[in-house]
């Protein structure tokens, strides 16, 4: 029941960089509509119009390919939510959170796949995700001419990790079912809860 392959598809030859990019982009795109382990080499090769062998040539094995796709998605997230480097700290934080929320809204499917892939995956996948999240988190600590929002202590770091897990859960749950909460309220809740939680750290 092989679909009648056009006699012999004319093979197109790209530069390694072009090909790699094409495959990663396609991977990210496909990931939005299925889970990581449903993203088979077979499927990808067919969608890309290439042989399976080529994928192995570029990425070595399925797992490495998945890793590259997740890294691509994570980089995309970071790139599209870069915060301003100037302004009042709280304003910068608000801007950063707004960018994050809007990114998740716009790339809902893809973001869910990223999170799922990372959470359910092995060490290396989780590491990529951790790295991305640290990049987001550290924005709350970043120091600049206007001073920084939070002290950088181990406990604060821990609490910020927690806050960021909460943020992720809130945004994703909200998208599933806003139940009366507006985007603005959501952003307000997320933003205001950071100082609220940090304020709860026991003095030493």
């Amino acid at each position: 029941m092989t679909p009648p392959t056009p006699p012999t598809a004319p093979r197109t030859r790209l530069t390694p960089d072009q090909r790699r990019s094409q495959l990663l982009d396609l991977g990210v795109r496909l990931l939005a509509t299925r889970s990581l382990d449903e993203l088979s080499i077979d499927l990808l090769a067919e969608e890309a119009g290439i042989s399976r062998g080529l994928l192995y040539h570029y990425f070595g094995n399925k797992h490495a390919f998945h890793e590259a796709v997740v890294r691509r998605a994570a980089d995309d997230l970071i790139a599209q939510t870069t915060p301003p480097t100037e302004g009042e700290p709280m304003v910068r934080l608000l801007t950063s959170i707004t960018a994050y929320v809007d990114y998740v809204i716009a790339n809902h499917e893809g973001y869910v796949s990223l999170v799922k892939a990372a959470a359910g995956g092995n060490e290396s996948l989780r590491a990529i995700y951790e790295e991305a999240r640290d990049a987001l988190n550290s924005r709350a600590f970043r120091e600049d001419a206007n001073g920084q929002i939070l002290q950088d202590t181990p406990t604060t770091r821990l609490v910020v990790r927690g806050w960021s897990a909460m943020t992720e859960e809130l945004v994703l749950s909200w998208i599933d079912d806003p139940s009366g909460v507006t985007r603005e309220q959501l952003i307000e809740i997320v933003t205001a809860s950071l100082p609220a939680i940090v304020g709860v750290i026991p003095g030493e």
Copy 2:
């Protein structure tokens, strides 16, 4: 390069309940150190010292086996953290959180398995996890003779979901690296942050 299998391993015959238990326990243990799709039937059968066929006999297919493993971990969590039904609401919450934290400390492996599988898995796996988490969360809402802690509105539910994701992240991160925070402080942070976050919900 097959390791020299002892001529023919003497087959041991257990009761179905014993065997099922053995396999589920092993499954939970193995899942703690690898991802769901690295938990192959092959690996499990080898670790258990049985044939692959036996796994299929008991669980039907790989997916059903995964589901059974996750359900096992979830049931264990619920059973071991039943909260008190009496007392001041805040005291009950504290007791409940303490039980949760101690459970995660004591059953780190099993809990990690549960979280990983749920986050990375499909609908049915996530449902099992959600069910367990709802059972924990609803304790914060449970009404009794002493009144309840929180109003039960959609927004509050949303925020509690977030809080609970934060709690999970905090406890797991803390176990990985306590960096100076004591168990008591951790519990205090987690407990105090629930009212702190709820207090941040915008009035309407």
